[in-house]
Amino acid sequence: MLTINKTAEKSHLTIGLQGEVDASNSVELDEVIQEALNDNIKNILVDGTELQYISSAGLGVFMSYLEDFNEHNILFIIYGLNEKVMNVFHILGLDQLITITDNREEAEKLVHEA
């Protein structure tokens, strides 16, 4: 089960992920990110505090947008991942490519600094 909440704030868009991202619902995540790209949003924050699990298909979604983020100078930050999910990012090496912060404040700080 995956619930995605989009909250548009003044400086950024927050995508809240609740539950598990797997092969069956990774398309939903993909659509949300694609939409944000289409809307020309420059700062995207992903709230991962409620994310319980992410499969390789879910990681594939983040991975596939890395080039787009670089190309369009988009600040993409994931924050609040629990240890287990963080480990998944770490093992794959995605933490070397995506900015991952511990909490919302840090993430927002990065947005303001940019």
């Binding site: 298909a57 990681l59 890395l66 070397q96 490519l97």
Partner: protein, 689 residues
């Protein structure tokens, strides 16, 4: 051997019947001769009666037998037989009259013995006619028989048998007993004669034939009856054979059944077409439900539907309009019957103007009705019935039926047509389901082939030497999976080892896995360092992996002479290593990045190369994320810690045993009954020297 008496049985009966008749003739002639010459009591009357009874019985048995052989004949044959026999009997009778006419006033014409001889001939043909006709009637009465009717008939046969012997009991003619018996026979015969279930099954033509034959039978019966009676009145010296209860009873029965049949057939004539119509409808139903067999197309069933509808309601013209399969195409007009294109356009124009058709034809999806019925003011066609044909809740098209009369479709016709349409829908649905099932079966077979091919991609034997044991296990969640491991031997001391996991699962993962195998075999021969190997593999895979696909892998090179391992991790689960000297296991966590994630030259920067020296007793466990992410009923993951503790516990066992223990543990954790939701793979190396 068994068949021989069967064939001759009929002949024996005829022979016996002829013998009894000849005996009867002889006895009676002697009696008449004696009577003329006043020589009383030469032969007693009883012999006459007994011979007469025997003659009847043999005839009855013979005809009963011969009719049984022809039981599958149609009804008209059963009526034609008595009619022809009647004509022959009447003909014989006329011949006798003609013979006497030729004799004129000669002495021979007054001869009593000759007269008696002809009387016997007449008697014989009448008996044959009556008995064979009775048995034909029996067959007709017992059509669609029930137990009650069969019992009634058997009782009638018993009564007939008794009536034969009546003459022996009471010799006086036309006394009360005789009259009572006759009346009883008449009433019983009349009751039996109401069994006329065969008549509705005759076609219109056959009914006319049947009426003709019945008239012949009635005429013959009446003529023969009066002929016999006239003999009785003309002759003084003669043995009366016709004053027999059996014969009179049969006369009445044959006549009654013929009259009843005639009348019923006559009154059935006007409704005959209705019955035939219903029969055609039933056959149409059968055709509709059986018409589509695998390999045949839907058009044939629609054709049958169209024909059935048109014949069921005496439709003058019609056509079938199929909705286009693609939205931009126009509808297909099919099965246009008895109407020209221009006329069809005209009718459509009228329909667009008149309700309820107008709203249906313009916005089709809104109205869900089985049929639409109404009148139009077209010059030829006055009433219209439009039906929607659908399958799987999707409308296929419309049937347009036109009649030249106003109010041409009554409720029954519409009912039958809508059922035809319903049946067609079911037939088409079944046909489609069947086709789909066949297709799915083919897919399944293809998948089985894929499974076999993929199994062969995993090595059946893993390279090693005496310094270490190695054992592996792999199971896919779906028919095919994305896990991969392989070994390679450079020389006696140098080995390469790879374990990998393709993102996602199922068929797409399996395809990428086979690419990985290709990349491995191309690059491994170049004997790169693990870091270089992965960097090259990344650039090779960048060109073939889809944007959101990646592969995680760890590549190892082992030198058993130096007892050292070099390895690099491309985003794969960290290797679990048990060190004999440390006395515990740990994960070899080095920096790494999955293949296909960074698709440029900078990839190598994200990699790190690990190095370790091993000792005898050390164990290395390589696995895919399916193992550590395996979930139990409470949605808990198997986890890294559990794996580490397991190795600590089983480190002393052989590589094969360690592998089995871990695999068993994982399956126990998940629950044996639940299907795995990811691919599981594990590779265990135990260093011995």
């Amino acid at each position: 051997m068994v068949k021989l008496p069967q064939i001759q049985r009929g002949k024996i009966y005829i022979l016996l019947a002829v013998l009894s008749w000849m005996g009867l003739l002889l006895v009676n002639l002697i009696r008449v001769f004696g009577e003329i010459n006043q020589m009383e009591g030469v032969i007693s009357k009883e012999i006459t009666w007994v011979l007469e009874i025997l003659f009847f019985i043999w005839l009855y048995i013979y005809f009963n037998d011969s009719i049984k052989k022809n039981e599958n004949r149609n009804f008209i044959d059963f009526i034609w037989r008595p009619a022809s026999t009647g004509l022959i009997a009447t003909g014989t009778s006329f011949l006798i009259i003609f013979f006497y006419y030729l004799l004129g006033d000669s002495r021979l014409s007054k001869d009593l013995l000759l007269m008696n001889f002809f009387y016997h001939v007449n008697f014989a043909v009448v008996s044959i006619f009556l008995i064979s006709t009775t048995l034909s009637w029996k067959h007709l009465i017992l059509y669609q028989k029930s137990k009650a009717i069969v019992q009634q008939w058997q009782a009638y046969e018993v009564i007939l048998l008794i009536s034969m012997f009546f003459v022996l009991i009471s010799q006086a003619s036309f006394n009360y007993g005789f009259m009572f018996g006759l009346i009883f026979l008449i009433i019983y015969g009349a009751i039996l004669s109401i069994n006329l279930k065969w008549i509705p099954y005759l076609t219109f033509r056959e009914k006319w034939k049947s009426i003709l034959f019945m008239v012949i039978i009635i005429a013959c019966t009446l003529y023969l009856f009066f002929r016999l009676v006239s003999y009785t009145q003309q002759n003084i010296h003669f043995v009366n054979l016709s004053e027999n209860l059996f014969l009179l009873g049969l006369f009445v029965f044959v006549l009654l059944y013929a009259i009843f049949s005639l009348l019923v057939t006559l009154f059935n004539l006007p409704t005959s077409s209705v019955f035939e119509q219903k029969l055609t409808e039933a056959i149409s139903f059968q055709k509709l439900s059986q018409s589509i067999k695998p390999g045949e197309n839907e058009e044939q069933v629609l054709d049958i539907l169209m024909d059935s509808c048109m014949s069921a309601a005496y439709v003058d013209a019609g056509w079938l309009e199929l909705h286009p399969t693609e939205p931009e195409e126009s509808s297909i007009i099919q099965l246009q019957k008895f109407i020209s294109n221009s006329e069809r356009q005209e009718v459509l124009e009228f329909l667009r103007k008149v309700e309820p058709f107008a709203s249906y034809l313009t916005k089709q999806s809104t109205i869900k009705k089985e049929y639409l019925y109404g009148q139009i003011s077209h010059e030829t066609y006055k009433s219209v019935l439009v039906l929607s044909v659908s399958a799987n809740k999707k409308s296929l098209g419309n049937i347009f039926l036109l009649k030249e009369v106003k109010d041409g479709f009554n409720k029954e016709m519409i009912n039958i047509i809508t059922t035809f349409v319903g049946q067609t829908s079911i037939s088409i649905e079944n046909h489609r389901l069947l086709n789909e099932a066949i297709k799915n079966e083919r897919y399944r077979e293809e998948l089985e082939i894929a499974q076999r091919v993929q199994r062969s991609l995993l090595p059946s034997e893993l390279h090693h030497n005496n310094s270490f044991e190695i054992d592996g296990f792999s199971a896919a969640a779906d028919e095919v999976g994305g896990d991969y491991y392989e070994t390679f031997r450079f020389d006696n001391e140098n080995f390469a080892l790879i374990i990998g996991d393709v993102s996602g699962k199922g068929t797409s993962a399996a395809f990428n896995m086979s690419q990985m195998k290709g990349v491995f075999h191309s690059l491994v021969q170049l004997n790169f360092s693990p870091k270089k190997f992965l960097s090259k593999a990344n650039s090779a895979l960048n060109r073939c992996l889809e944007k959101n696909n990646f592969i995680t892998t760890t590549y190892y090179t082992i030198n058993t002479a130096l007892k050292e391992i070099h390895f690099a991790r491309a985003g794969h689960c960290p290797t679990l290593f048990y060190s004999q000297s440390l006395g515990c296991s740990r994960f070899l966590n080095i920096k790494g990045m999955g293949l296909g994630i960074v698709r440029n030259e900078g990839y190598e920067n994200y990699l790190e190369e690990g190095y370790l020296e091993y000792q005898p007793g050390d164990v290395m466990v390589m696995y895919t994320d399916g193992i550590v992410e395996a979930k139990n009923q409470e949605n808990q993951e198997f986890g890294y810690d559990k794996l580490r503790l397991l190795l600590d516990h089983y480190k002393a066992l052989s590589a094969k045993e360690i592998k089995s223990k871990i695999v068993d543990e994982v399956y126990d954790f998940v629950g044996r009954e639940t299907l795995p939701d990811d691919d599981y793979s594990i590779l265990v190396i135990k260093f011995n020297a």
